[in-house]
Amino acid sequence: MLQSTAINTNGNATGVAEGTKQGTTGQAEKMDTNGMSPETGTSSQEQSANSVINIKGLSLTFETNDGPVHALSDIDLTINQGDFVSFIGPSGCGKTTLLRAVADLEQPTGGELWVNGVSAQQARLNRDYGYVFQAPALYPWRTIAGNISLPLEVMGIPKSERQDRIARNMELVNLSGFDKKYPWQLSGGMQQRASIARALSFDPELLLMDEPFGALDEIVRDHLNEQLLRLWDKTDKTVLFVTHSIPEAVFLSSKIVVMSPRPGRIYDVIDCNLPRDRGLDIREAPEFLEIAHRVREGLKEGHSYDD
């Protein structure tokens, strides 16, 4: 597979038309930033040199008492180093399940899944990604600083460096000065920011974020969107980001994956290469609104398609 086809959709939906448009912009300048290649000899020969996530024909079925639930069905997706990919779609369309499969928290029932050229399990054991859950899930017996320090302790990072990183990441999410507080003494928004700092603390190349800003108010959300965009721009991390908000998806992403439910599948992939140094005001620009419109249409069609 060639590098230019950065993202594949499953061929059964309208999204197939996008294949030609993809990869024409924004890919070239990113190519040189990473000399990274997949780990040797582990993955399929088809991977492009800078792909981080390769998914082919992935499906995942939960066996429940009420019969099987097809949470994911025949997903094809390639995500390159430095991509910011948003997943959007109605509840129950498998966004969380897809992220969890990438994180090796769910086992696919079919298809292939490679992360950094190795299996999802190996990638997890390599500590290749940081995961931000939908709920903050901070440990109540640890202070905020203690919570951010948790992955660092598990990974055996020495104390002095831990303190550096805790301070840096708390500043990044505007929590400086709250290090000695306990999670239950902070608002929900602050807790979620702490959980983001925790995922960033060990500086993973790949970030998996499941509706991280879902519970936050508009102003905090805007602020964190900007911070996240700066961080991504600066560090060239690869981000998989689940959201319910169309403006958020368009503002942050280089690719938007529109999903539809029952069975969960990819309905459309929309390229979204707004200038990298964009600010919040781009949300009024015509090209922004145009993309947002396409996402909205995709969501509508994907939904009615199902009924």
């Binding site: 969890r100 994180a103 090796d104 928290l105 997890r124 054991l125 390599n126 500590r127 990604y129 940081g130 995961y131 859950f133 709920a135 899930a137 440990y139 109540p140 017996w141 948790l150 992955p151 302790e153 598990v154 990974m155 306990y182 239950w184």
Partner: protein, 377 residues
């Protein structure tokens, strides 16, 4: 509409008046009237006046505190010193005054608990004073009733007698305490709780062992201690070792069951998080599962502190060297030395309460983060 406070005051006032007309008791076949005792007469009149002042809402604030602190306690002290004015048991006039001063003390407690305290120290002060007052009055009434009605001491000795026995036999009590509490209870408790905790962690990875051990645990914890104790005495001899063994048996399974339950309560998202860090089994045990199991562990520690006391004392009924709290209780009952029995009971109650209290303090320090304690920080 009269308030609760006012109705207490009315009752207390009426009883003070009645006391003026009823006899205190009989001495040499003649009724002793209150009027012959100027101190008690004065007390009855003053407490009647105080009741009226409370009823009319004239007695408030610091003045009310002062009057209610002094009056009922002076009254109680006078009543205690008049316990032998009659040769038979005391009569209605005396009891009117007892109840009247008790109601007055109740008024004081009511007043103190209603106080809106500002500083935490003041809050703490009142939270100590009220139960202390309660305890003091319990003892006062116990003393007055038992001695005033001349209840036989084998049935119930007055607290003063128990106190005197306590003070006179501190060396025996200390030896018993050492034998029963410091040896059997503490050693059994530490071994029982400690081994159960370790075994809970060892069987944590084996659902098979858990399924097998927990029902056996329920069975053993249902065994009557009366059946187990003699067997332990046969196995481990008369000294404290057999009592510690009983304590181990009693404390082991509550701890095992609670720790196993505590280790299983971590939410899936918390465990998933550890998984994303590729944490080892031991890392996630120490950093996640043990801390979240702590509330369960402390629950067992508190239950076991009580069980251990009961176990060690009762086990001594089945054979001991001639020392120990259970031994003392069983032999002194046989000799009708009930005051000594009660002194031992007092030691057991004090030790048990202190033991439990220490566990509560440690629990608070370790699980301050738990929703049930958060407000206190």
């Amino acid at each position: 509409m009269i308030s609760f406070r006012q109705s207490l005051a009315i009752l207390s006032g009426v009883l003070s008046i009645l006391a003026l007309f009823f006899p205190l008791g009989e001495l040499n076949g003649e009724a002793v009237s209150l009027w012959s005792d100027s101190g008690l007469t004065a007390f009855a009149i003053v407490s009647m006046l105080a009741s009226v002042a409370v009823l009319l809402n004239r007695l408030k604030g610091l003045k009310a505190d002062l009057v209610l602190v002094i009056l009922p306690h002076v009254g109680a002290w006078m009543l205690l010193s008049r316990l032998d004015v009659a040769d038979q048991h005391l009569a209605s006039g005396f009891w009117c005054l007892v109840v009247s001063s008790w109601l007055m003390a109740w008024l004081l407690v009511d007043q103190l608990s209603a106080k809106k305290t500002k500083t935490p120290t003041a809050k703490r002060f009142y939270s100590i004073v009220v139960p202390v007052l309660f305890g003091v009055w319990l003892l006062l009434l116990w003393e007055l009733v038992v001695r005033g009605l001349q209840i036989p001491t084998v049935l119930l000795p007055p607290p003063s007698m128990i106190g005197a026995r306590f003070m006179a036999s501190t060396d025996i009590l200390w030896a018993d305490f050492q034998q029963t509490f410091l040896k059997a209870v503490l050693i059994g408790y530490i071994l029982g709780c400690g081994s159960a905790f370790i075994i809970a962690i060892l069987i944590d990875r084996s659902p098979f062992l858990q399924r097998g051990l927990l029902p056996i645990g329920n069975l053993v914890s249902a065994l009557p201690i009366i059946g187990v104790a003699p067997i332990m005495v046969m196995w481990f001899g008369f000294d404290w070792h057999s009592k510690a063994a009983v304590v181990i048996i009693m404390t082991f399974f509550p701890m095992l069951v609670n720790t196993v339950a505590g280790l299983s309560i971590t939410s899936s998202i918390e465990k998933d998080m550890m998984k994303t860090y590729a944490a080892s089994y031991w890392q996630s045990l120490i950093k996640l599962r043990l801390p979240s199991a702590l509330p369960f562990v402390f629950n067992a520690l508190k239950i076991n502190s009580t069980l251990a006391m009961i176990g060690a004392i009762v086990a001594e009924f089945f054979g001991t060297p001639i020392v120990g709290m259970g031994f003392r209780i069983s032999t002194e009952v046989g000799r009708m030395n009930v005051d000594m029995v009660w002194a031992e009971i007092a030691v057991a109650a004090l030790a048990g309460t202190a033991f439990y209290g220490i566990m509560v303090v440690i629990e608070r320090a370790c699980t301050f983060w738990h929703p049930s304690f958060r407000s206190s920080r």
